[in-house]
Symmetry: C2
Subunit: 111 residues, 2 copies
């Protein structure tokens, strides 16, 4: 079924986003837009290689894209990368509709 098709993707996304440091990098890219590795390293609490490794993991998971510019590499979020996780949640919404009222309210506020 369609659910099984995304199984590996869901596992990979959950796993990638489960690390707090890596998720913080992802969240910062979400809030601040495109950033260089150096900018991301500041305030990350870990070394530059660690940040590069986290960015590589995020890239493999399809959550970020890179743009080389001279000797700098700019990273930005790839919103479509979250799609399998959204599908996963949507699937559960059919089981427990009441639990999604809150999210539904948020979504409707956007309209």
């Amino acid at each position: 079924m369609k659910f099984a098709m995304h199984e590996f993707a869901v596992t990979q996304l959950m796993r990638t986003l489960s690390d707090p440091t890596r998720r913080a990098v992802f969240e910062r890219l979400s809030r601040e837009g495109e950033l260089t590795v150096g900018a991301l390293t500041e305030g990350a609490g870990v070394s530059q290689p660690a940040v590069s490794q986290h960015l590589a993991a995020l890239k493999i998971a399809g959550l970020v894209r890179e743009r080389r510019e001279g000797r700098r590499t700019h990273y930005r979020v790839e919103p479509a990368g979250l799609a399998p996780l959204i599908d996963w949640f949507a699937h559960y919404s059919t089981f427990w509709p009441e639990r999604f009222d809150q999210l539904e309210a948020v979504l409707k506020d956007m309209d």
Copy 2:
């Protein structure tokens, strides 16, 4: 901020659900309702202690509840356990509204 309050919960939930075997147990409880450890062990592909350990992890994460009945333990899903993850996604919906159209459509179909 409210986001930081749930940070640990999000990490724990992502981590708990990132293991395919454990997530399969959770999904099966979602589909089939309350099940005993023995029933969950069948078809899990791992030993009974492994299943018990996964259930303990799910319980700590707040994703399942147990009900002792004689020598059997029945487990069922705790839907509220997913709330921090839903909040996390709702937060991102403000950044990328277009990516939540699909989920929103699913939710509206329920009405």
